[in-house]
Amino acid sequence: MVPSAAPAVSDAVFALTLALMLLAPMAIAGVALINTGLGRSRSAAQAMLGCLALIAVAAIVFAFIGASLTGSLGLKEVVLHVAGKPWSVLGLGPFLLRGLGAAAPQAQLAVLFEILAVAMLVLLPWGSGADRWRLAAGCASAAVLAAIVFPLASHWIWAGGWLAALGANFSVGAGFLDAGGAATVHVIGGLSALAVVWIAGPRRGKFPKEGLSTAMPGHNAIYVLFGCLLALVGWLAWNMAGAIIWVHAPLAALPGTAINTLLSASGALAATFSVTRFRFGKPDASLCANGWLAGLVASSACAAFASPVGSLFVGGVAGVFTPLLVEVLELALSIDDPTGAITVHGAAGLWGLIAAGFFAPQAGQLLAQLIGIAALLGFFFPLIYFLFALLNRFVPFRVDPDGERMGMDLHEIGGGAYPEFVIHRDESYR
């Protein structure tokens, strides 16, 4: 199925989509658990409190400012005319969500989807900055993402911007397709994670002067794996709701979308399980969790278009490259990403977007997907990096060395997540 002019939604479709959107926060809860479990025990409470705080900041800022710039509530938009074609670059809706109640039902659903999407987006860099990224800086970055970056991306890709209109204006496929937020949420989240990791630097002692990098395993594999199960529930809802809202999928297509989502995650897990079993002799739990999540992320782009076998293939490819890329980033490129968000969300999201180009029925769709990817890498990544670098001058990202040694829990919130447990010092890892 491909996007067409937005049809008016029936009451039944509205009710179903709303119900799906109420399940979507399970994916956010899953990611929050994964972030916490993959960090260290002495930073666990700060990690989980940070998830709540970042979601709150992002929701408030998006409601006040961001939603007006996405243009999902209609009214006006900023349109440039280049080469005789209109290029819609920014929406200009009412601030503070005024007029939301009177808007068309599909517009209200779109805003609800966006506010949940931005809540998910801000959690992705938070996990990568675990154990050294200050809570205040995390909240400030969430505000920047919700006020500037996400609204631009959402307008370009979902709300009738120039990427969405590539098909109508330039006869390039059906426009850039991203039904479940692979680009607007996951690729942008992965690129934000890379920017945070570069700006904040690695954890203390991660890359010693001699030898390989120090292993700093997550403190709770059960949080991580249960987070994966929760994420599945949310992702099923997210992909089906996205298919209805952004590509106007008929109800009959939804079971296929859900099946494709599950198959993609399953293929990814099977592939990561096999790769880690082959490389290390035993399957690695945290990498398998990363693989599962990478399969879900890849499905965000193409579950609405791919066949079941295609989804299994997409997930399988994501599951193969995820453990390998995590290793390359850490060992070869000195990138300290505790949750693997750069690979799991950034790289798997890009792969899903490319795969959507192969599976969507419209001719020329792959070119539309490549143009969208070029915008993500060539426009959004430098924008995020320089905004974060500027922010770092006013709200320093990195905690001071004493705070890092003590643990983020004691330093930032004055109490640990597990007060009766012994807290490991950095020297324990050497």
Partner: protein
């Protein structure tokens, strides 16, 4: 080095925009878009290289 790569990446993006604006035929468009992505890849490689730490760089 850190910032040079990040400043090169938008050049690749503008190449893809130029492909849309200048070339109606799909062949040239694809070639230009691929060139744009290659420039972005080059910029990313330079940025990664610029951010790589000397060993021991994470010690306090």
């Amino acid at each position: 080095m850190k910032y040079a790569g990040l400043l090169v990446m938008p050049a690749g993006f503008f190449l893809t925009l130029a492909a849309l604006a200048l070339f109606p035929d799909p062949g040239r468009r694809i070639a230009f878009v691929l060139c744009g992505l290659a420039v972005e890849g080059l910029g990313m490689a330079v940025a990664v290289r610029g951010h790589m730490l000397p060993r021991g760089g994470s010690q306090p």
